[in-house]
């Protein structure tokens, strides 16, 4: 069971999707039950993973992994191209995997009332679940890209078919934006493919004898053979293994992405350019200002459960991609671009917050608050220290359940009146006191009030940014403004919509404005409790991430020093 746990996480939703597709049309209502069973199983496996993960990390930081040969292609003079079905979980991905299983489960319950094209909806939803988990678990860059790219398809249809009035526009915009980002990432993948080799696979292919069981020593001996020319170009095995790509010794001398390649394009080194492409690619997904305008439209037009998934999980793949791919593989460029990354982070924080302040649609306000909160992720990553990166991961985790909570609550109101205009409501607390209490807690959690998870995340990011040698001190100061503005737009909304005497744009709404139902409690309370628990007991998350974060920082620092050495040789 443990050996295949990660595959179960990916394939259970995929098999369930196939089951849903083949359900007879008369049994279409069972689609939601299939989806619920599949995501509940995943939730249960996720809980198992949480307990298995504790203290199980190996020297590479992987607590669990699975590796199967996927395909091999002989390239003649270029050696061999090989790819693995390589999935694993470490300190960087564990929180994202746990978050995904929870949010995808919540999403199914939120989708319970979907009546149109039920089978199609749940099949696509389960396909999305599989792709999301695959993206977080993949340790082969090609496999990652496959899952990353595959996410587009179900999301496009889920927004485009089950969305609001301008769903076609929003879905096409989402698709095109993300596709452009994906192509930038693909360009870097091709560059890496042309520039790197896999030492262990090459050694086995050539038949280098293993004198020790230590994989690292074996890799070093193969690297020496490649450096001295004992292993020729046509004997190299190219494999986009994410655990091997960060090692600068696995990059071929004078190849496209070699540190010794001094070619420039528009004044950028090719490694710098590759990092920039990854930053744009993942920055679109995060989203980072000014690449963010797809997000408010997608959120406003998507149905509530899809907004929940989008805000809770999909955005995180952007931050995760930077941490998993861009920073470890291009540490030299990451360091030189850090100020820019932090700058984009601060811009996103302040710009997102100011724009949220001007919104009239509750859902759009939450969408812009997401842009602002994701800015903290960029700022934390740019700090490149344990506090900053831990804060960035914590922010992704925390925002992963606070933001879905807010979208669910916006959806509760929309379900009753089909209107989300802030100015059309006043004094909702009079008729929906429990709803008001929950949304009040959600607003406070989102604005980073101490005691909630958002506070821990933002605190870590700010401490990291203040103590970082890569982030100018004025930047975290400006970022503080985002927190103040966050309090401004949330409290203002609370005051306008929920306090004072009851005033509604249409008096007929009064009848439909009932308080939370048991199903809505089931959806929202776990997320409220999570926001509170992870705010009070941050150690539960930090224990999971600390090893991975330390290894990431150490790897980036060491590889950057090694790259400098290689460049000066």
């Amino acid at each position: 069971m443990e050996d295949k746990l990660l595959s179960y996480l990916i394939f259970i939703p995929l098999i369930a999707a196939a089951l849903v597709v083949f359900l007879p049309s008369k049994q279409a209502q069972f689609a939601r039950w299939v989806a619920l069973v599949a995501t509940s199983l995943n939730l249960w496996l996720g809980a198992g993973l949480y307990f298995l993960f504790q203290g199980a990390e190996d020297t590479d930081g992987l607590a669990l992994f699975e590796k199967q040969a996927w395909f091999t292609l002989d390239l003649g003079g270029l050696g061999q191209w090989s790819a693995d079905y390589f999935v694993g979980v470490d300190g960087i991905s564990i929180t994202m995997v746990l978050l995904s299983v929870l949010i995808m489960w919540v999403g199914v319950i939120a989708s319970w009332k979907v009546q149109t094209k039920t089978r199609g909806y749940f099949a696509l939803y389960l396909l999305l679940t599989s792709s999301v988990l695959g993206s977080f678990l993949a340790l082969d860059l090609l496999l990652f890209y496959l899952f990353f790219e595959f996410m587009l398809l179900p999301m496009y249809f889920l927004i485009g078919i089950w969305g609001g009035k301008r769903r076609e526009y929003a879905s096409i915009k989402f698709f095109l934006y993300t596709l452009v980002g994906s192509l930038f990432i693909l360009a870097v993948i091709i560059g890496l493919y042309a520039s790197t080799y896999h030492p262990e696979a090459t050694g086995e292919y050539v038949g280098v004898e293993r004198t020790t069981d230590d994989a690292l020593s074996y890799a070093r001996s193969v690297q020496e053979d490649v450096e001295t020319g004992m292993i020729a170009q046509d004997q190299l095995v190219r494999k986009l293994d994410l655990t091997q790509l960060p090692d600068p010794r696995n990059t071929l001398v004078d190849s496209v992405l070699s540190i010794t390649n001094h070619a420039h394009w528009l004044g950028w080194s090719l490694r710098g350019l590759a990092f920039l492409l990854l930053l744009i690619g993942f920055g679109i997904k995060l989203p980072m200002v000014p690449l963010h305008t797809w997000l408010p439209d997608a959120h406003v037009e998507a149905s509530t459960p899809i907004s929940v998934v989008l805000a809770g999980v999909l955005l995180k793949i952007g931050g995760y991609g930077l941490l998993r791919i861009a920073y470890p593989i291009f540490p030299d460029a990451a360091v030189s671009f850090s100020t820019w990354v932090a700058g984009f982070g601060v811009l996103s924080i302040v710009y997102g917050a100011y724009t949220a302040l001007a919104q009239t649609d509750l859902k759009k306000l939450i969408a812009y608050s997401s842009v602002s909160h994701m800015g903290f992720v960029l700022l934390g990553i740019a700090a490149l220290n344990t506090e900053g990166v831990s804060g960035a991961i914590y922010q992704m985790f925390s925002h992963g359940f606070i933001s879905p909570l807010l979208f669910l609550l916006a959806g509760v109101l929309y379900d009753r009146t089909h209107n989300r205009n802030i100015a059309d409501y006043r004094g909702l607390g009079q008729v929906m006191p429990k709803y008001t209490a929950v949304i009040g807690v959600a607003f406070f959690a989102s604005l980073g009030l101490p005691g909630f998870s958002g506070f821990i995340a933002e605190l870590f990011v700010l401490i990291g940014a203040f103590s970082s040698e890569f982030v100018p001190t004025w930047m975290p100061f400006v970022a503080l403004l985002g927190i103040v503005l966050g309090a401004g737009y949330y409290l203002w909304t609370l005051q306008r919509m929920f306090f004072g005497p009851l005033q509604l744009r249409q008096s007929s709404w009064r009848e439909s404005l009932t308080d939370l139902t048991p199903r809505e409690y089931l959806l929202t309370l776990p997320l409220v409790i999570a926001a509170l628990l992870f705010g009070l007991f941050p150690q539960w998350v930090l224990n999971l991430t600390n090893g991975g974060v330390s290894r990431l920082i150490e790897g980036v620092t060491n590889n950057q020093a090694l790259l400098q050495l290689l460049e000066n040789l």
Binding site: T293, P296, T355, L357, A358, L485, G488
Partner: protein
């Protein structure tokens, strides 16, 4: 200790001697203090409208400038696609059709003066050869 301090504070608060004093003899400092140094008013007149205006500006930038740029790019793509379609229909297809038409015309032109007299053909062949030679020499 803490409880006793709280108790004394509660008693003093209940008596509230300061409040009556402010009401009876409002000096400048007392008035300022009563209005919280007019900080609320200051914020209402400066920070709040400024923040709202900046919010409106960034919202405009988002919906008009950024999205406008994206829409312009999209429209550019559509215009580009139409130009390519025009080029495809009238230039590429036109060239192919033109070559075919030219071949047909030339064939027609060559076949029309078919007289059956061998001398006419020889004269024409000679004329064409002289013309080609003249072009080659003069080039």
């Amino acid at each position: 200790m803490a409880l006793s301090v709280l108790g004394v504070a509660a008693v003093l608060f209940r008596k509230r001697p300061g409040r009556a004093k402010v009401e009876t003899s409002p000096g400048i400092l007392a008035r300022l203090s009563y209005q919280a140094l007019f900080l609320d008013l200051f914020y209402q007149k400066t920070v709040v409208p400024f923040s709202v205006q900046v919010g409106k500006a960034t919202n405009w930038l988002d919906s008009r400038a950024w999205d406008g740029l994206v829409h312009l790019l999209s429209k550019g793509q559509v215009v580009g696609a139409q130009l390519v379609q025009f080029a495809d229909r009238y230039l590429v297809d036109g060239l192919v059709n033109g070559v075919a038409k030219l071949a047909k015309r030339v064939g027609h032109w060559l076949s029309t003066p078919r007289s059956g007299q061998i001398q006419t053909y020889l004269i024409r062949a000679l004329a064409v050869t002289v013309l080609v030679l003249a072009i080659l020499i003069l080039w």
